[in-house]
């Protein structure tokens, strides 16, 4: 009985380890290859350790014509602006939907929710036309504007959270002469830190990773984001895998670090994101 239990546990660990190896393998291969010289890559197995250990791929990536450093800066700036815009607009809207009584509240909330059904792929072609007409195609603002005003999804999550804040707290502040903005800044936002942290992670991850819209709306290296730069490196330097793997490593590692730092809130944010 004991022996079968032990072998059963061993079998489970074996399966779990195999899964972990399969999951981590591509990440490790990408990172290992990024630190190899082209000569070593051509001569030795993909699984060999970098020898000599080199930073030349990263140097070429950041200083060369690919302008990868610029792409990183643009991606980070765009993500931050989108994050700030989305948080402010969504917090205001969510508070209105949760705690302010105004005509049309139900209908508007329903309209906001129904936009969650629109697949992003469908929006690419019309948004491209609109950005072209507005003279904003291939600009920094074309990366930011379509996402900076609100996310119905964030509004939905925030509204649920705000509804859990005791009304007495808000009424007490009101009696002390606080207006709606005071209430938001002094009571609602501080009490909602967990959900705001969750939304921050979701927004940063999804805009660091976003690809189709930046690919469509930007041309050339000027406003290229990390994913687009990686894709164009691959087609431009096809076969120069050490350079391309340096690019994928730079695209992947910041999120891996972020994930390991905020593991708990990440896991929670995925499950919250899902159950919405």
């Amino acid at each position: 009985m004991k022996w079968t239990n032990f072998s059963k546990t061993a079998a489970i660990y074996l399966v779990l380890l195999l899964g972990a190896l399969l999951t981590l393998g591509p990440f490790l291969l990408s990172i290992l290859t990024a630190f190899k010289t082209r000569e070593q890559f051509a001569q030795q197995s993909a699984l060999s350790w970098p020898d000599p250990f080199t930073l030349e791929n990263f140097a070429l990536l950041l200083n060369g014509p690919a302008q990868f450093g610029r792409a990183i800066v643009i991606t980070v700036l765009a993500a931050i602006l989108i994050l700030v815009g989305q948080l402010i607009c969504s917090i205001l809207a969510a508070y209105a939907f949760a705690r302010v009584d105004f005509p049309g509240r139900q209908v508007l909330f329903w309209v906001y929710l129904s936009t969650l059904m629109i697949p992003p792929v469908v929006l690419v072609v019309p948004l491209y036309l609109m950005m072209t007409e507005a003279g904003l195609r291939n600009s920094f603002w074309s990366l930011v504007l379509p996402f900076a005003f609100a996310s119905p999804y964030a509004i939905f999550l925030l509204r649920e959270y705000f509804r859990g804040i005791p009304q007495e707290l808000i009424d007490a502040a009101r009696l002390d002469g606080a207006n709606t903005l005071d209430v938001l800044v002094e009571i609602v936002v501080p009490l909602s830190r967990p959900i705001i942290a969750t939304l921050t992670l979701i927004t940063i991850v999804s805009h660091w990773n976003s690809f189709m819209w930046p690919l469509v709306v930007t041309t050339g290296t000027e406003w290229r984001v990390v994913t687009v730069a990686t894709a164009s490196l691959q087609s431009q330097f096809n076969g120069n895998w050490t350079l391309v793997m340096a690019a994928t490593t730079l695209a992947l590692v910041p999120l891996l670090v972020l994930f390991l730092m905020f593991q708990r809130s990440f896991v929670r944010s995925i499950t919250i994101a899902g159950s919405a």
């Binding site: 399966v15 779990l16 591509p26 809207a93 209105a96 690419v124 019309p126 948004l127 504007l145 995925i270």
Partner: protein, 293 residues
Amino acid sequence: MRSRGGLRRRSAITGYALLAPSLFGVVCFLLLPVLVVLWLSFQSWDLIGPITFVGLDNYRSVLSDGVFGNSLLVTLVFVLLVVPIQTLIGLGAATLLTRSLPGSAWFRTIYVLPWICAPLALGVVWKWILAPTDGALNTLLGQRVEWLSDPALALPAVAAVVIWTNVGYVTLFFMAGLLNIPGQILEAARIDGAGAAKMFWHIKLPLLRPTMFFVLVTTVISAFQVFDQVYALTQGGPARSTDVVAARIYYEAFDAFDLGRAAVMAVILLVVLVVITLAQQLYFRRRVTYEMD
């Protein structure tokens, strides 16, 4: 009376003032584009020249040539490959991870990693791993397999990469679902003499129905829109064997410069996904019970 009316008006003003920025965003960047794409589907535009009205020509052209039909079929096969396999693997992994063995949390963390990373970057890594001559997989196997350039292998290969990306996400939900099952129910079944297999099929699986439903809905909808991995791995080829709808819309618009046709395809995709979502919502309301909450 007057003061109550005044209060109500004030709260209406406050409400709309708070809503204004997000309403601007929702109208300009979500609702308006849907109208624009509908309008564009009746126009002809090549990105450079003027936009001209062509009536139903784009619809005729898209519905009569085999290219879009092929894309719908490829997407359907892709969804049918990805969703069942990743659901099974996720369910299996979740069952193993909820046995509270030491180290489970670590495995869970590792399995989720691909889900949070850029699908495009992971697609590029896999492009190298699956490359015919200097790719890691073929070097490991010691033989040359044309994973991405053989029309019979390309779609399963892309599906495998997407499954690899999604399994952790699915696992997470099944773990939450399994941990939500009240201990008393499992205890009662055990006392009644239910074995592990019986326990899984007759107790756990039925109680997982809300989770299962949720996972199927979200993964079907996202699989219908796959683009990044296809762009990185195959660009829709070889011989259009991986030409999923999202990729077709992109190539039709920004490679063939036929925005009208791309708009028609986008409209059709929108209708298909809205119908799927609404059908699933209706089914959800009727069938899934929330007794466990």
